[in-house]
């Protein structure tokens, strides 16, 4: 119950508008788990700079905190750099967590960006009390993150997974990378990047992608026309959208379906981008039943409208487009490196001699898993 009604007026009417934006995406993963520096992702996203407009950029990197790999790494931004807010947050954190270590996230003062917040990171483990002991660590962390994000003004947890981190802000992704010294300080085995093209005002740093909850991160391109439906459905399950972006909804949907309901991405993709009824009609009975039931039960999570999304968590990265492919995606593979991008050129710019490059069918996910070649399955029906 903890979050019911946090920060919400009684009417939908007072909720902010859904953000409207288009973007460039890139993701890369080493399926052997070898960590590599950020220059691939940074160069690739620079290749498709024209897909963003400098109003947002961000990275998610997996495997960056091997020393604290058992701790939840909370990246928190204090928007107006107000110390008193930081005090409130830290009080809340110490009430609920064991904070093993904290520090300001290093930045490059040479890089001048629009209204940068104070950004701090905390490595924590849960300290559950009373009824909370029934909750899993993950549920507990989500609950606390939601609390900070909905109840403490000017503080925003933008990364909360273990051994991974999100770095984002207002600017082109290249500038963000420079600002956070990504090419110098970090190595990871998955890098996802987002270059944002919003239609509204610059806004704030937290509104940039990737969006994340626990170790789930989402970078997304497009606009989801079903936003209201998706959002209101998720609200029933305790997900309150604070950012009013499609990406946030998508992240929650992924969390709800994959983490909480335990559905594999292959099933989730049929929920996000289900086959048309005409196609379902043609299926074998069992498959028809599956697809029909998924639409019947999870229809409110159909993501309607144009999108490409790259979702990552530990050991897995996948990309998917909407079911009528109103937005693009291309995949590439070379040995144990797998790439996902809005444009093939971005991949080629960093990996010219690919083994494969393919564009999957609308709604058909490219699933990149650790120590597997599952990503090649999506070559069915691809071009």
């Amino acid at each position: 119950m903890a979050m019911t009604g946090y920060g919400r007026k009684n009417s939908e009417r007072y909720l902010p508008d859904q953000g409207r934006e288009a973007c460039g995406l890139f993701g890369v993963m080493n399926t052997s788990g070898k960590r590599f520096p950020g220059n691939i992702a940074i160069s690739a996203i620079k290749n498709i700079k024209v897909r963003g407009n400098g109003l947002g950029g961000g990275f998610a990197v997996y495997g960056i905190y091997p020393d604290y790999k058992d701790y939840y790494a909370l990246h928190i931004m204090f928007e107006n750099k107000r110390r008193e807010v930081k005090t409130v947050v830290e009080k809340y954190l110490t009430e609920n967590f064991n904070v093993a270590y904290d520090e300001q996230i290093p930045t490059n003062a040479q890089v001048s960006l629009f209204h940068p917040p104070l950004v701090w990171r905390y490595f924590v483990t849960p300290e559950k009390k009373g009824d909370e002991r029934n909750l899993s660590d993950d549920e507990f962390v989500v609950d606390k993150v939601m609390h900070i994000n909905t109840s403490i003004d000017d503080a925003y947890v933008f990364s909360s997974g273990k051994n991974m981190g999100v770095f984002k802000g207002v600017g082109f992704p290249g500038e963000i990378a420079d600002y956070f010294l990504l090419d110098k300080l970090y190595e990871g085995y998955i890098w996802t990047v987002h270059s944002r093209f919003p239609t509204n005002t610059p806004g704030w740093w937290g509104g940039s992608h990737p969006f994340s909850i626990l170790d789930w991160t989402v970078v997304h391109n497009g606009e989801i026309s079903s936003y209201g439906t998706n959002r209101r459905f998720l609200e029933m399950y305790g997900y309150y959208c604070t950012l009013y972006t499609d990406t946030e909804v998508m992240a929650y949907a992924v969390d709800f379906l994959m983490r909480r309901q335990g559905l594999p991405i292959e099933v989730v993709s049929k929920i996000f981008a289900p086959p048309m009824w005409d196609t379902i009609e043609q299926m074998r009975e069992k498959e028809k039943h599956l697809n029909t039931t998924l639409r019947m039960v999870y229809g409110p999570l159909l993501l309607n409208g144009p999108f490409t999304v790259i979702v990552a968590r530990h050991n897995e990265m996948f990309g998917i487009t909407d079911r009528i492919r109103l937005r693009p995606i291309t995949a590439g593979a070379k040995d144990d490196m797998v790439y996902l991008s809005s444009e093939e050129a971005a991949i080629r710019s960093v990996a010219p001699d690919l083994d494969f490059a393919w564009t999957p069918h609308g709604g058909n996910p490219v699933v990149v898993r650790m120590n597997s070649t599952d990503h090649l399955l999506s070559m069915d029906n691809s071009i």
């Binding site: 119950m1 903890a2 549920e139 609950d143 305790g238 997900y239």
Partner: protein, 282 residues
């Protein structure tokens, strides 16, 4: 996280925790056309699942013991094709006993609660005890025999059509709004337990009644009747009907028909087939 899974959530008070019929084998014994069911600790759906199952296996005489308020007993036997079952129920049958019944015979050795024979279509219900409120509501066919008293609004909106005429015989007396809205059918109120000189309990008898007939044995004052009905002496044809169904009643409960018939019967009839025909301005 529990708080995220369901908010206030939805609990199904009827079905929650119901076991599948395949897990209920221990509650039933079937031997040829005979079956015995122990209803103790069975939820209503479990019991009805089980009855359906044993009927499907060919049981036609089913004895159910330890009934404590399970609802809708007999209702779902409608969905077993060609099934006509004798059900003997020991205990206190739950609400809506035999609701929508369509041809079974239910005998309750004990009291029943509300809604006995609700919208029943065919079959027979025999209660060796009393019935609660709205017994025989909207009954359309078949017969109900209640040994003792009945509650409020008995036989409300009972109907008939051509030769499909429901019959309700009550051994004792009834409470208020007896025969309300009645549109058809035969109701016989015997008043067997009434003390000498005591009136029947019911007030507002036959309010809105516009069809069917109520035969009353025992005292009932005009002031106890609704404004839409009148009370009349019976004629020979009426008494033929009374004799037949009182006879069936007596036979089921081991009583003497002639003794029952010795007392005076009167009949309550609607004053109009259209009690509300004139309240509108066209």
């Amino acid at each position: 996280m529990a708080s995220l899974t369901l908010k206030s959530g939805l609990r199904d008070m009827f079905l929650e925790g119901s076991r599948h019929v395949s897990e209920l084998g221990g509650y039933a014994t079937v031997s040829g056309s005979q079956a015995w069911v122990d209803a103790l600790n069975l939820k209503h759906k479990e019991l009805n699942d089980l009855l359906r199952e044993v009927a499907s296996q060919g049981a036609r005489d089913i004895t159910v013991r330890n009934v404590f308020g399970q609802r809708y007993i007999g209702t779902r036997l409608n969905t077993v094709s060609g099934c006509n079952v004798n059900l003997s129920i020991y205990g206190t049958a739950g609400n809506d006993l035999g609701a929508f019944l369509n041809g079974q015979r239910l005998t309750v050795y004990g009291n029943t609660q509300d809604g006995v024979g609700n919208t029943m279509n065919e079959g027979e219900i025999i209660v060796h005890g009393k019935a609660g409120d709205v017994a025989a509501m909207s009954m359309r066919g078949g017969k109900i025999f209640i040994r003792n008293n009945v509650g409020y609004r008995t036989a409300i909106h009972m109907k008939e059509y051509n030769d499909k005429v429901p019959v309700l015989v009550i051994g004792g007396t009834a409470q208020d709004f007896f025969g309300e809205y009645m549109a058809g059918g035969i109701v016989i109120l015997l008043g067997l337990g009434l003390a000498e000189g005591k009136n029947h309990n019911a007030n507002y008898v036959g309010t809105g009644m516009h069809g069917g007939v109520i035969f009353v044995r025992g005292n009932i004052e005009k002031s106890q009747l609704g404004k839409d009905v009148g009370i009349y002496t019976t004629d020979d044809r009426d008494m033929e009907i009374v004799r037949q169904y009182s006879g069936e009643f007596a036979q089921r409960f081991g009583l003497n028909t002639e003794e029952i018939l010795q007392a005076q019967f009167r009949k309550i009839l609607p004053l109009s087939k259209r009690p509300y025909g004139s309240i509108y301005a066209y």
